[in-house]
Symmetry: C2
Subunit: 345 residues, 2 copies
């Protein structure tokens, strides 16, 4: 198993170290060889090579079986000609990572940490399927000068088709309830989106399909989060709604995500950012990175037993009261990792 690891910026290197340590432990225990190569990416890429995504990083990622990304960005590189974020967008586009899967789940034991009232959020368990290589992020023309600016929200039907099918397939493995989010009362692209969803729906008669306008969806995520099963939406709406959904869990530091292409390696990463304010302090919660590793083991390598073992060990450590600062505890990143490692060994 060849893995490209992109530690990136801020707390990225710390949590990546945690993830890779446990991956190594799992490798020994289950007798797998994980060939991990670390590549410069994001701000670290700019500092090392002048480019947030240098050629060796693209090459290494393309040839890997899976990619682990920790986090990128920070004030230091905000004015760079090519920013860490530009690097991330280029990576997504180059590898064709069109499908971003973000599970949003609130475990009963941490429901009290949610900004929402506990009884409202308890039992929340849904998945946001976000289109990741189209829409406003990449549409042309896209330019600005001192007088005016233009971005383009462009979708081909085939791009909508493949992400919507993915969402239906995921819904089939769950409660068979799909919520498609658009703004079909205003946007031409949403009209094509909605039509496509309705067409594909006829192929999945078991799945109940709901359409919500994006403004209504932003309300319902707060008002009735337990009502969702699978949400599918375009790139920009998915960016906003998946982040909104992540905070209702009260545990931003515990959410992994996976991005997939038609073929080629998938990319796994925490959904939170690089948190420059707490970087280097050994206090970041490595759970989201650990769960991203588990997601990779399961989805890219079909190593279900290994993924289960890792998730189980990590949640045992949490249940034993080892909590990082974001969850109200005092456990350090490395101490948490050592505890999980000890259980695995």
């Amino acid at each position: 198993y060849t893995i490209a690891a992109l530690p990136g910026d801020g707390i990225g290197p710390e949590i990546m170290e945690s993830g890779l340590t446990l991956l190594e432990t799992l490798g020994k225990k289950f007798h797998h060889e994980f060939n991990v190569t670390v590549y410069p990416f994001g701000g670290a890429g700019i500092d090392e090579t002048g480019d947030p995504i240098p050629p060796q990083t693209i090459k290494g990622c393309s040839e890997a079986d899976a990619i682990l990304l920790a986090a990128i960005g920070g004030p230091k590189w905000e004015k760079a000609e090519k920013t860490p974020e530009d690097g991330l967008l280029q990576l997504r586009k180059t590898l064709g990572l069109f499908s971003n899967i973000r599970p949003i789940a609130v475990s009963d034991s941490i429901a009290h940490l949610s900004p929402l009232k506990t009884e409202r959020v308890k039992g929340t368990d849904f998945i946001v399927v976000r289109e990741l290589t189209g829409g406003l992020y990449f549409g042309q023309p896209k330019h600005w000068n001192d007088e005016e600016a233009t971005d383009t929200l462009f979708y081909k039907k085939s791009e909508i088709d493949r992400i919507v099918r993915q969402a239906f397939d995921i819904a089939m493995t769950r409660s068979k309830k799909l919520t498609s989010v658009d703004k079909a009362n205003v946007l031409a692209s949403s009209k094509l989106w909605r039509k496509t969803v309705n067409e594909i729906a006829t192929e999945y008669p078991e799945v109940t399909v709901d359409h919500l306008y994006v403004d209504a969806a932003s309300m319902k995520i707060i008002q009735d989060p337990t009502s969702f099963d699978v949400i599918v939406t375009e790139n920009m709406f998915g960016d906003i709604l998946s982040d909104e959904a992540s905070v209702i869990t009260g545990s931003l530091g515990m959410l992994p995500s996976g991005s997939h292409a038609v073929s080629g390696p998938s990319l796994y990463e925490p959904i939170h950012g690089s948190a420059p304010d707490i970087a280097g302090k050994n206090i970041a919660n490595p759970m989201s990175m650990i769960l991203s590793v588990a997601m990779m083991l399961r989805q890219s390598f079909q190593l279900h037993e290994e993924a289960d073992a890792l998730e189980k060990a990590a949640s045992e450590v949490m249940d034993a009261g080892f909590l990082t600062a974001d969850l109200g505890g005092t456990t350090t990143t490395t101490a948490f990792t050592e505890q999980v490692k000890a259980i695995l060994e």
Copy 2:
């Protein structure tokens, strides 16, 4: 004072009646003549004339001193060639209503109704300033067919300039804290937006300016709503974020909004929709309409005493325990209105 009233659809006519009844009461009490003409609009416009915004409605609105709109839309007209929403967009564009002002406030007495934990939301008091006639809503090209779809997010600097200035002016009357929301790490239009905000900021040295990416803003509205004072953003982001913000108050039925042009009449309306499911049942909360009337009195007619009297009477009625179903009570729309009327008389 000439007023164009657009009752529209769903619960629209019921709450409009409440607003107009109280306006008449105020007129008698304070010796003003409010000349109200009701025009067909939205689904009601389609039913009556085949057009959601017939010529007499446009003419009546253009010539009025102010416009009151209740609510539009519903499943009945979703497949219309020109939908109620199309009519609303045309009205905004025709009258040049570029600036949509939505106050989001949580009064202590109803903070417990919020889906957020009470201690987190208590004291929330901010204003969303949304650009209303540009961006993805109106940019050209905008078209779709069975193969592909395009929307265009276009802004002229002058359009950004005028809405941002409005937001700064509002911030000057409040806590002098402005949060500009964009997606400058991805969108060209957001880069021009951010640059323009920073330029205008130099003319308002007293105002503290913050920039937030839209995904981060969608999180912070839930995590830390009391931290905001004035939020300014473009049309599509404003649609999503203002609706998200409205539900954290727990009282969607109590929020008014105002839309303003460079010159000509302003439009006042509840921020909620037409709620077809409870239409005709005399159970809708008329508060948002009543507060929209108060907003009109204050902002379009400078009738501050009258607006105060109306707001005070309405909140006395609520404090006395007359609550509609959305707030857990059993008071009807008309009964609530009669109570407010009695106090005013």
